[in-house]
Symmetry: C2
Subunit: 321 residues, 2 copies
């Protein structure tokens, strides 16, 4: 990356030195952070990350947290932020800073399931996802285990469906089963039934380089069987940014997106006209950036950040100056 490090202002993916960071922060009101791989890994905060956020808050910067994870409610995320030392507003009157796909899916359904009958969704996902949907008035069915019953395709197709389901929502569902896939497809045979996926991440990274299958694998299975394309809520889809923008009243030019994934965080930032910082504490590497920069594929060449840091703790010197 030598050429990038010494590049002029036009070069992309420049190391964010303290000097450059000072200049950048002077032009910025809002910083949006991905969580996993940026602020923490599993239950361990990235070293220096809490102090960085505290310093940003002290400088009057507004912070937002954008996560594709659909298995926690907004409040559960806020609690984790506080528990790991990232601060943030607390108490009933506090304005929430967290935009997870469970919450944003609820906003999407509230917008798209207007008019009678009362909105109801078949949810391949967690109780937390259902809780966010219920909080905006969308009744949820389907959460939890649903193993195969009946002794063949005829019986599988006769399993009772809930009346009035107007959307199939696919999130992270460790109870995903063929039976659930079958039911999802049966609901989706109604052309008016929406198909919504919380995100398309292929993997959910854990600590120590481990990972499990991500929500995208489940969305793809439903899409292929139903021959429908899901509306995707999470990064890099712009809908999740629109949710933040609507609540915060954001000026994209004075906003930074900070993330560890080129194909979600950085692509979202580029798509929405934000400044972008890649942090190397998570999934994507400088090798991935280089490969995108050299790709002959236009969609890959978009996935290049303005700046990179080894860790968001690299912002601290600029804030202490």
């Amino acid at each position: 990356m030598a050429e990038s490090e010494t590049g002029g202002d036009d070069a992309r993916c420049v190391r964010l030195s303290a000097e450059r960071a000072q200049a950048l922060l002077a032009d910025v009101d809002t910083l949006l952070f991905d969580c996993d791989g940026v602020l923490w890994r599993g239950e361990t905060a990235v070293s220096g990350a809490p102090e960085t956020l505290t310093a940003l808050r002290a400088r009057g910067k507004r912070l937002g947290f954008i996560t594709n994870n659909s298995s926690k409610t907004r409040e559960a995320y806020a609690e984790k932020l506080r528990r790991l030392g990232f601060g943030g507003p607390a108490g009933p009157g506090a304005s929430p800073e967290v935009f997870g796909t469970a919450y944003c899916t609820a906003l999407y359904l509230r917008q798209h399931l207007t008019g009678p009958p009362a909105p109801k969704a078949y949810v391949l996902g967690s109780a937390a996802l259902a809780a966010e949907l219920e909080a905006v008035g969308v009744a949820c069915v389907g959460v939890g285990p649903d193993p195969l019953h009946g002794d063949g395709p005829g019986a599988w197709l006769e399993a009772p469906l809930e009346p009035g389901v107007r959307a199939v929502v696919v999130g992270f569902d460790p109870h995903f089963s063929y039976m659930k896939l079958t039911k999802a497809v049966r609901y989706l045979q109604q052309p008016n039934c929406l198909l919504v996926g919380t995100n398309m991440d292929n993997r959910l990274p854990l600590e120590n380089g481990c990972f499990i299958a991500g929500t995208g694998c489940l969305v793809r299975a439903v899409e292929m069987a139903a021959q429908r394309q899901a509306d995707i809520i999470g990064k890099p889809s712009r809908f999740i940014f629109d949710c933040v923008s609507q609540e915060y009243g954001i000026n994209p030019e004075r906003t930074v997106m900070v993330g560890d994934r080129l194909d979600t965080d950085i692509l979202l930032g580029v798509t929405c006209g934000l400044k972008t910082i890649l942090t190397l504490t998570g999934v994507s590497t400088l090798g991935d950036v280089k490969s995108n920069q050299e790709s002959d594929c236009m969609s890959k060449r978009k996935m290049v950040p303005d700046f990179y840091v080894d860790s968001i703790a690299d912002l601290l010197p600029a804030l202490q100056g």
Copy 2:
């Protein structure tokens, strides 16, 4: 389709009149049939289809049956053919006519899992698929239900794996679950572990226009999580034809592929240099043919048959003449 019906010899997708059928059959030794949607739908034979096959056998034509369905053994298919009146060899010395993906996957693994240790596969699929694999000496683990156990990702990743698994085989698996997906991906982290899919059908059509999710949905989920591309056994992959070719000693120019799907049966025939007949008793329609003929996509324009019939019973007059 008027222009096709009156088209010259160069035109594709011509209705197979009795006269044309006589000329075609004179140049042909072997007819390969897809089963579901061609010979039968569910447990009901297509009207006139058994008589057609009987007449073809009487004329000395060799018949083969190529199916992507992985949930029956070769013998179970032969029994269904006899039960529905399609005849065929019976008894221990009889030469089998059925090439299903369960059997052909077994051949694939026998070719690719040579040398020690003894071949073992993790099977997302039916007992029949495992039976075909075991018959060629591949030990199978994983068949049957495997619901979620453990209270989070860490526990899911600690579920015991079988030692010595050298392939993950994905077939039609009504017990598919997130737990199985997780295990499949863990086996596939060994770069030497093969990933094999029996077929990529998105749907499995049943009677009366009903369908259930096909094997392709499950293969895609595993591929996406493992970030690997599966080796596919069934149509339109040429491997299944190579299996027939090797056992029958086929001359492609004197062979016809008869099927109801453009994207599997007809594409296989075109790819392997066979003559092709689309029958309209199953999935694809003349509208689909027209759309492929007019497509600007080369891969779609290949999915056009030489001939079409309303049903394979349309061949009868040519055989009775």
